[in-house]
Amino acid sequence: MYPASFEYVAVDSAEEAIDSLAEHGDREVTLLAGGHSLLPMMKSGLASPEVVVDLGGVDALSGIERGDDATRINAMTEYAAVADDEGLWSDNPVVPEAAAAIGDVQVRNVGTVGGNVAHSDPAADLPAAMLAADATIHALGPDGEREIPAADFFQAMFTTALADGELLTAIDVPHLGSDDAAAYVKKASPSSGYALVGVAVVLETDGEEIADARVAANGAFDHAMALEPVEEELVGGSLDDESLPERAAGRATDDVESYLVLDDEQASSEYRAHLLEVYAERALETAIDRVGDGSNADG
């Protein structure tokens, strides 16, 4: 509960943050956003950074900007702002629905989208939503800006495609078409509130058939991953096919030999794998129900 001492650096801009990361690059340096993962880790001794660069004063990194084809969520935007954003609920509800499922009101008012995604906690809610949304992650580094597709971003537990010295600045969430639909459903841990299993779904449809599907899960694996066999089963499927959600969800663990389902105090891998199928089915049913309802979501 009493973290080791560290040097604290406050910055005013993303560029200043990059400079600061470079300047302290020979030491263990970390960025502080909402602090809801970092501070508990520092207090429990799991993280002992020598330098903490605080992004709290970088106003330019906050806020939601609605474009024609995508909505930009700047990195320091709090979960609550995303969960309450009517435009996002209308244009791609999988992200605000996942944001609304995080923690509690206090957590959502302080935790940030960029911090969440950059941390790649396997049980966080946003990574699966970003995969399903096919979001684009913007990074700024010493060599300038680059864009990383969400599909390439999450690599392992607490490991992303961000390089040392790089800062996640924003995430672009593409808008869905009028016949598309999305959903995020979650089985929360009764103790931590994190996802034992969370499943995000985006279905692109013509109102009758599924043209494309992106289904991703967090909580079950060492990082958020697409459930490709489920996606395969869905593509070309009819929205009227009542057995489709169960059939597709049943394939959630098809590749289970090729990756490890998490096994810990909170749930065995057997139970998690089962929950993955059940919650994938629930997510698919919810998304299919929402097709053609005009807003893509109940929210």
Binding site: M1, Y2, A4, S5, S44, K187, S189, P190, S191, S192, E265, Q266, A267, S268, Y271, H274, L275, V278
Partner: protein, 787 residues
């Protein structure tokens, strides 16, 4: 709800809690708010659950900036203090190894203290802990009580088989006969896992020592400051009791965990003496998990003998109770006299026998947690009644009804040494059944099952032995403390009143309820009464708050003193009104002569007269105050019925509440709002135990549910809407008819919920499931049944 100024009706009304302004605004001061300039103590805990200590090197820690001193168990030994935390309840054959405040040659669980750093600030103190170099020689650990008694691992040399006590209650021969005569025997093996108390404020101590006067003051998170004072004085520190002051300021919850004398508070006070100044210690949540006494930890085999009509003939119970690595104060009483004695629940069971083997393990000490012993005992009986009912194809409610002790049988002597004072059991049970629409739920259950939905209804009755017994009886059974409570009622000359009482609030609202008791006795406005608790300099003596005792025993002491004050005032009134005492009536704060209402005088006027001393009866001393040591003639016995309706999702094992009904009878209610609050909190903790809470150790004795990240406390959004009601059956022997309510709901809720879930799982062939009934546990049981 407004304050009730009318003294007549103040007892029994929902007076607003006067504590809440300070608590809600943050003005209230807790232990860590005291001694702002004190040095800080950090305590090094053992890295391993079981190891011998080869060496402790503190030299690097001592050299750190800001470090004032580093102490080990050897330093404590050298100081010559008694250094032995005792148990407060002796049982026949009990093994009592020395419990040092810091370990010297061996550690026995991961919470054992090894060294204390005192530093100028908290960060420096904790940084220095990393520099204390301990060389361990690791030993194998044992964590389960049933395995401990068979294990090669020895926690204490004094108990080679790890058995601290082997306790028996009841008539074994009579039980054998009952079992032979009965039509049917039901049996169940059940476990009651460890609960971590999780008070909102972790334990803390702030100690100040004045070398010139030898006065030592310790502010601490205490449920019983006087008990802490006598233990620190006689058992750990050897500091003279009259120069030791213990103060419990605002205390943020306890649930039992702050009754006990732990090493940490003694270490803090000892450091203050060593340094001749002020030091303070505040536990982190992680330390609380590792060191606050856990609750429960029972492994039980139970058998119930019944006739085919459901009439219970006998109950046989054998329990292995985990005590942890050391004997805490009530660790021996909780699984013995507080457990075996309640096994009769609300039923006329002719023969009961219970054996309890208390075992040392390499785990955090176990002691009383809300419901202590009674919760475990009622759980056994209320579970096995359901198991038996199903085996006999009888409705579990009807089996209960068949065996209820009828109202005319009170006082009722059970087969396990208690005499229940009063009870209207069927009335409360029927009220709960009516509220939950028991027949309707059963019909709905049947219909829904046809459609693949699984509803379950669970009912549990309970009796609680509250107040912790008369002193003489407790002494005969091995208690090292009394069961009385002290209360002072003192009029000030101006007519306002101070009450001092030896109970100690941790959020219960005593300053409100005990003021109501005094105001009602004295006939003064409740706002004219102030209640002082929690300070050994302000309160003459006291036993503290636990075992649902503050209402019945603390309230009894206040009422008795109030009555003594009224009698003295009556003598002065008679003197001043020139009437015989027998002709002076007391009504709502005013004495008047019978038949002459004009000849009257208020109790406030009499208080003034008493302190003037000019015009009081000859031979009477001036002043108007009284002190009582109220020693109850018996426990009080609250009771009630809880009922839950749940639905289980067979896909996931998730349990959803449809209804939760609680009908509690705690006798007279001083403040119905506070009673309801106690019931609400108790249900939450009872449900937590049933569905989600368990402290788990791995084979090495590491607490794997070591934080709230893994340990699932119930949350507001996982709890049902409570529908509460009450019946009122006063205690015939308590001065104010009160029975106590602090633990009732925790006792009733757990078996009601487990019974409901197991009932829902009947189609899957599930007869019993051990707590906590997590989603995965339930899903696994369903999956097993389907396979």
């Amino acid at each position: 709800m407004a304050s009730e100024p009318n003294a007549e009706s103040v007892f029994g009304s929902s007076v607003e809690r006067r504590e809440d302004v300070g608590l809600l605004t943050g003005d209230a001061e807790f232990t860590d708010d005291k001694l702002q300039d004190a040095a800080h103590v950090a305590i090094l805990r053992s890295q391993f659950a079981h190891a011998t200590i080869e060496e402790i090197d503190v030299s690097a820690a001592e050299e750190r900036d800001g470090v004032l001193a580093v102490y080990t168990g050897a330093d404590v030994e050298e100081s010559g203090v008694p250094n032995d935390i005792p148990t407060a309840w002796m049982l026949p054959g009990l093994v009592t190894p020395q419990y040092r405040i810091m370990a010297t040659d061996k550690v026995r669980h991961t919470g054992d203290a090894l060294a204390a750093v005192v530093a100028e600030d908290r960060y420096a103190a904790y940084d220095a802990l990393d520099d204390v170099d301990v060389t361990y020689d690791r030993l194998e650990a044992v964590t389960r009580p049933d395995e401990a008694v068979e294990s090669d691992v020895t926690v204490h040399e004094e108990a080679p088989d790890n058995v601290a006590f082997d306790f028996e209650l009841g008539d074994a021969d009579a039980v054998d006969e009952a079992f032979e005569a009965a039509d049917h025997v039901a049996s169940v093996d059940l476990e009651q896992p460890r609960i971590i108390p999780n008070a909102v404020e972790p334990r803390a101590a702030a100690a100040s020592y004045d070398p010139s006067s030898d006065e030592l003051t310790v502010w601490m998170t205490s449920q019983n400051p006087h008990l802490h004072r006598v233990l620190m004085s006689t058992a750990t520190l050897g500091h003279p009791e009259h120069k030791l002051r213990i103060v419990a300021p605002e205390v943020g919850g306890g649930f039992g965990s702050k009754i006990y004398h732990y090493p940490d508070e003694a270490i803090t006070a000892w450091c203050a003496k060593q340094l001749g100044g002020s030091v303070k210690w505040q536990a982190t949540r992680t330390q609380s998990y590792a060191t606050d006494c856990h609750g429960r930890d029972h492994v039980t085999e139970a058998e119930l003998a019944l006739d085919s009509d459901g009439t219970i003939r006998g109950l046989r119970v054998e329990t292995h109770a985990g005590l942890g690595a050391h004997l805490s104060q009530f660790a021996t009483a909780t699984p013995s006299y507080l457990y075996a004695t309640i096994l009769s629940s609300e039923y006329a069971i002719p023969a009961i026998h219970c054996r309890v083997i208390g075992a040392f393990t390499n785990t955090t000490p176990v002691d009383a947690y809300r419901g202590a012993g009674r919760a475990e005992g009622i759980y056994v009986t209320e579970r096995i009644v359901d198991v038996a009912a199903r085996e006999l194809d009888l409705d579990p409610v009807e089996v209960r009804r068949t065996n209820l002790i009828p109202p005319e049988e009170f006082p009722y002597e059970t087969a396990v040494a208690l005499v229940y004072d009063s009870g209207e059991y069927e009335e409360a049970m029927d009220r709960a059944l009516e509220l939950i629409d028991y027949e309707g739920v059963r019909e709905r259950q049947e219909k829904l099952r046809e459609g693949g939905r699984y509803l379950g209804v669970g009912v549990a009755n309970f009796v609680e032995s509250a107040g912790l017994s008369p002193s003489k009886a407790a002494g005969e059974l091995g208690a090292q403390a009394g069961g009385w409570e002290a209360g002072v009622v003192r009029f000030h000359p101006s007519g306002t009143v101070s009450v001092a009482v030896g109970t100690a609030d941790q959020g219960q609202g005593h300053r409100t309820t005990l003021a109501q008791v005094a105001a009602a006795e004295l006939g003064v406005p409740v706002d004219d009464v102030e209640v002082v608790e929690g300070d050994t300099d302000e309160v003459p003596q006291g036993m503290g708050t636990y075992g649902s005792r503050s209402g019945p025993v603390g309230g009894g002491a206040v009422a008795q003193s109030g009555r003594k004050v009224v009698e003295k005032a009556r003598s002065i009134a008679a003197h001043k009104l020139e009437a015989s005492e027998d002709d002076v009536e007391f009504d709502d704060g005013t004495f008047h002569v019978v038949g002459a209402p004009d000849r009257s005088i208020s109790i406030q006027e009499l208080a003034y007269a008493a302190y003037l001393g000019h015009d009081i009866p000859d031979e009477m001393e001036p002043g108007l105050e009284a002190t009582s040591y109220y020693d109850p003639e018996n426990f009080t016995f609250p009771f009630g019925t809880h009922a839950a309706v749940v639905e289980v999702d067979p896909d996931t094992g998730e349990v959803e509440f449809h209804r939760y009904v609680a009908v509690d009878d705690c006798g007279e209610q001083i403040n119905p709002m506070i009673v309801e609050g106690q019931v609400h909190g108790g249900i939450a903790q009872g449900i937590g135990a049933a569905l989600s809470e368990a402290a788990n150790y791995d084979d090495n004795g590491t607490l794997v549910s070591g934080s709230m990240n893994e340990y699932a406390l119930p949350r507001s959004d996982s709890l049902p809407e409570y529908e509460t009601d009450s019946t009122v059956t006063p205690s015939p022997h308590n001065p104010i008819g009160v029975k106590g309510v602090g633990e009732s709901a925790t006792i009733g809720a757990t078996p009601a919920v487990v019974n409901a879930v197991v009932d829902a799982l009947e189609p899957f062939g599930v007869d019993h499931l051990d707590m906590p009934l997590t989603d995965e546990t339930v899903w696994t049981a369903i999956d097993g049944g389907e396979r």
